[in-house]
């Protein structure tokens, strides 16, 4: 069993399971903040997905995508939390 097979048949399903649990919490989340944390986590596990994919296809260019996605995750979390805070203030 080569490294590619191991990553493709064992690591990728584990990450898919993780994405599934986080997606369930994202759909279920009783409050908006739960959904924000779930979204942040979805993007962060997506970064892990992209990294494993870059090993499988043997192409290191995907690391740039992972870096940009990690930054976007932080920005979206901060923007959404500020939005909720200010919208509560106006009530």
């Amino acid at each position: 069993m080569s490294v590619h097979d191991y990553l493709l048949y064992i690591i990728m399903p584990i990450l898919c399971l993780a994405q599934l649990f986080i997606l369930l919490r994202f759909l279920k989340g009783p409050q908006v903040v739960d959904r924000i944390v779930a979204l942040d986590l979805l993007i962060t596990v997506g970064v892990a997905f992209i990294l494993i994919f870059s090993i499988i296809v043997d192409n290191s260019i995907f690391l740039d995508v992972a870096m940009i996605l990690a930054l976007i995750a932080f920005l979206s979390t901060v923007a959404l939390s500020f939005y909720i805070q200010n919208s509560k203030k106006d009530d």
Binding site: V3, Y6, L7, I10, I11, I14, L15, L17, A18, Q19, L20, F21, I22, L24, R25, Q31, V32, V33, D34, I36, V37, A38, D40, L41, T44, V45, V47, A48, L51, I52, S54, I55, S60, L63, D64, A66, M67, A70, L71, A73, F74, T77, V78, S81, F82, I84, Q85, K88
Partner: protein
């Protein structure tokens, strides 16, 4: 191989944590840390697979971003959740921020009272001088 396994397992643990935990704050504290460690392990695996200077630099940059930003994001989301009134777990015993906020409110009320009484005294003085 070993590092990617560890990273994937950490991501799985974090996802189970966010799904099963009873309380928003517990979910936040579980997920932020575990996923950061998981991504760190996967990045070690990547930089061991491509033995290349550019790849290692990029992976160090990604780890740096994640370690810098995830606690800030967690802090902001937790603060917003507290201010918008997220419910705590029913067995939560300590709420330190609430006592802090109560102390601050009391201080502000005392200051307002003091300023009001000062203004009243001033008014009394002006009335007395008018009478004189």
């Amino acid at each position: 191989m070993i590092f990617s396994t560890l990273g994937a397992l950490f991501a799985l643990i974090a996802s189970i944590g966010i799904f099963k935990m009873p309380d928003f704050y517990a979910r936040l504290s579980v997920t932020v840390k575990a996923v950061t460690v998981g991504i760190g392990f996967i990045l070690i695996a990547v930089s061991m697979y491509f033995v290349d200077f550019a790849v290692t630099t990029k992976s160090i940059a990604i780890v740096f971003f994640l370690i810098m930003t995830s606690p800030i994001a967690g802090f902001l989301v937790g603060r917003v959740a507290y201010l918008t009134g997220a419910k705590m777990w029913k067995f939560t015993m300590f709420d330190d921020l609430k006592t802090d906020i109560d102390v601050k409110k009391k201080e502000i009320e005392e200051q307002e009272k003091a300023s009001q009484s000062e203004q009243a005294e001033k008014k009394d003085n002006t009335e007395q001088s008018d009478n004189l």
